[in-house]
């Protein structure tokens, strides 16, 4: 059962990674990249390393996504034509 869950999560991660490249909207790409980290932290938890899972969830999917969002916001402000 556990290998099936891990493979399923891995497939979703791959799909999210490809989607992050092909999304037209940068916002959707950033969220998609955050989803990859979140699923990675779930996999770490299943594999029995809660320490790494906690770090990945807080830094990888939380703070990095927020910093990307801030940067996107800033870039949009600087551009005159959209």
């Amino acid at each position: 059962m556990i290998p099936v869950i891990i493979i399923g999560l891995g497939v979703i991660m791959l799909a999210a990674a490809v989607a992050a490249i092909y999304f037209k909207s940068l916002l959707a790409s950033i969220i998609s990249a955050g989803v990859i980290s979140l699923l990675a932290s779930v996999i770490y938890l299943i594999l029995g390393s809660p320490d790494v899972a906690m770090t990945e969830a807080s830094i990888g999917s939380g703070l990095t996504t927020v910093i990307f969002l801030f940067a996107l916001h800033r870039v949009r402000k600087g551009k005159s034509d959209d």
Binding site: S58, L63, V66, R74, K77
Partner: protein, 229 residues
């Protein structure tokens, strides 16, 4: 079209290399080498029940010090670049949901972060994730206000004191036991108690304070630069 084919060929070649190198790999049935040493002697050596923290802070404390330095230089560079951008006007006021949440949640988040930091040697966690959680509480406060954050001497002094504490704890081990960052300058105590495991709790506190203040500083400078003109 050509680029797609070249990319595909590179990916296929790389996957062939990876598959051929791990094809004879099998899951070991028992721990070997240094991992075995850590699991057998970790609790006796360091007094830390959480072996991951024992490795990260005690056995490989120098690596963690390097990691802290990396984070310090990265956040310094980000803040330096962002201060070149003129400070914008106040950001748009948050929605009532965000404002209400930012009024009640940060206290609980900070408490949880402090729990993760102080129990690093007992349960999963430690300085880095705990500090990130505390910083996210400050982020929530920033998102809930409609003014840009002002200058804070407090944040930078916390950051400096925390970094200095980490280094001085290392030199304490060097002076008394002849080894940089030796964990047992304080007694290991009884494993499982909150005051045990030598200087691991103190180093966790230092790392947590440093990470929290650094990330908060990064968020604050983004918030300042992100205001509307």
């Amino acid at each position: 079209m050509i680029r797609t084919i070249i990319g595909l060929v590179i990916v296929l070649a790389l996957s062939a290399i990876v598959v051929s190198s791990v094809s004879d790999y099998s899951m070991p049935s028992e721990l070997i080498g240094v991992g075995r040493g850590y699991t057998e002697q970790g609790v006796n050596d360091t007094g830390s029940v959480n072996l991951v923290t024992a490795v990260v802070v005690a056995y490989r404390g120098l690596d963690t010090l390097g990691e802290v330095v990396v984070l310090f230089s990265a956040s310094t560079a980000v803040v330096l670049i962002l201060t070149l951008i003129p400070i914008g006007a106040n950001p748009t006021p948050p929605s009532s949901i965000v404002a209400f949440t930012a009024g009640i949640l940060p206290g609980a988040i900070v408490l949880f972060g402090i729990y993760i930091i102080t129990h690093g040697h007992l349960s999963p966690g430690g300085g880095f994730p705990g500090g990130a959680v505390v910083a996210s509480a400050f982020l929530l406060v920033m998102l809930g206000s409609n003014t840009i954050p002002g200058k804070s001497k407090f944040l930078t002094s916390i950051e400096s004191i925390a970094g200095l504490t980490f280094g001085l704890l290392g030199f304490w081990g060097m002076l008394t036991l002849g080894q940089f960052l030796n964990n047992l300058v304080l007694p290991a105590g009884s494993p499982g108690r909150i005051i045990s495991a030598g200087i691991i709790p103190l180093i966790s506190l230092a790392i947590g304070a440093k990470v929290a203040s650094e990330l908060s500083g990064v968020f604050a400078s983004y918030r300042k630069a992100g205001g509307e003109k």
